[in-house]
């Protein structure tokens, strides 16, 4: 039962990322809206607010990717997959997570750490007047999101293992749907 509980914990974590991303999206929507209105009506442009748009946007989709993995929202070519039995699907997910997903996410996360650290050490900020400082914050989203992806991938693996061990009785997991 430990594996089942671990799987559920990871799922909850991924869902939390989704909620954070959703809030970031709403902020981004109104950020862009505000920038348009203030520029058109008041000729007032804030480079910082303009840069905030893509900061929110980037954080939103980067954190959204691990959440979407847990929610089964990533596209699959289901020409063969769709017709397979639950156990076979579980095997595919288990093996591919191990061979494709985990190494990819970890490797990118690994190089992402250096990438963000460089920025931190340089004290990098925007090159434009009134732009945002602390570029390392948004750059660290890359290693963090990739690491969260790895964790979400572990969740998918556990799901597959639990299916193979007969701990999920029915097809309560619908990978392609939302």
């Amino acid at each position: 039962m430990f594996l089942l509980r671990l799987e559920q914990t990871i799922d909850r974590f991924s869902d939390l990322l989704g909620k954070i991303a959703a809030i970031l999206f709403v902020l981004m929507l109104f950020n862009v809206f505000y920038d348009v209105v203030s520029r058109y009506l008041f000729n007032a442009v804030s480079i910082g607010m303009q840069e905030m748009e893509w900061h929110l946007f980037a954080a939103m989709f980067m954190l959204g990717i691990p959440f979407t993995l847990r929610a089964g929202g990533h596209v699959r070519v289901d020409v063969i997959y769709e017709g397979l039995a639950l156990r076979k699907k579980a095997w595919i997910d288990l093996v591919c997570t191990l061979v494709l997903l985990i190494p990819f996410c970890l490797l990118v996360a690994w190089y992402g750490v250096d990438f963000a650290r460089e920025s931190f050490q340089l004290g990098e900020g925007s090159g434009d007047p009134g732009g945002l400082p602390y570029r390392w914050i948004i750059k660290s989203i890359i290693p963090f999101a990739m690491f969260f992806n790895f964790i979400s991938g572990i969740g998918l693996m556990l799901r597959s293992i639990n299916i193979l061990a007969g701990r999920h009785q029915d097809d309560d997991y619908t990978p392609i749907q939302h």
């Binding site: 442009v45 090159g127 007047p129």
Partner: protein
Amino acid sequence: VAAVIAPAQAAEKTYRLKLAETWPTNFGVFSHPAREMAQLAEQMSNGRLKIEIDTANKHKSAFGVFDMVRAGQYDLGHSASYYWKGKVPNTLFFTTMPFGMTATEQYGWFYYGGGMELMQKVYEPFGLMSVPGGNTGMQMGGWFRKEINSVEDLNGLKMRIPGFAGEVLAKLGASPTNIAPGELYTSLERGTIDALEWVGPSMDLRMGFHKIAPYYYTGWHEPGTELQFLINKKKFETLPEDLQKILLTAMKVSAYNMTIESHHASAENWFNMKTEFPDVQVKNFPPEVIAALKKANDELLVDAAAADPLAKEIIDSQAGYQKLIRVWTNIGERAYLNSMAEE
């Protein structure tokens, strides 16, 4: 026998270097220095230096060139120093400055006025060397949808103009605006922005701005934009001394050639533009506006100098050299040009 052959083999060893450009593939004159440099270096070294060039279309990170060369993912870069202002503020000064030196004057500063030493002082802590990489020459002040007749006309002016020059304009009440390059045309056409600054005649014509903005203002903010070759210092030091010399010479020659080519291309493009689009109105900013811009610029430089000792050293060096060489420019070229009727 082995002992005799070994040095000969070492001399024949081929060094392969990888260069990352900030520019996309086929970016006009900007694309030429790196290629010419690579070719020259290979020929002069009798094939011992081989330089492979990746454009931004390959590495996908136009503004990652500094980091990539620094980290050794690339050995060399071709870019422009002011792009790194957000990372290292003092890199700003080695491209061009509003109301600063012309290309020729600035080369004087680089090679004989202490500019090169100051540039290395800025780049050294990051394991990098930077050398001049070709000059675009005078850049135009940008495309405007409305005339600028007074300082008041700058108030609330929405202009796409990045960096330091944007800061200068902001001081006079303008609103520098970020617009994605892909949306510049639509934004200017529709009046989402009132003005923009792009590159110079050749690149501007490719974007078609002359069809949607009636006024093309002459330059003030980039009197001589110098590109740069970036060199990973550690890698550079692994090269035998003769190859180091060859590399630097190839860079200098190709930079020189780009400067000339750019001057030529601008002249040609200007002629074509005037022939094909006689409606484009070329304007100078009125003296009152120029004076206000200059004042704002000077104030910003004072602030920058107060904030950092090395910045002060560079600003003082540039101002001192400009004062010295401008006297000669005035006696020489300015007097000559003034003495002749405009033809």
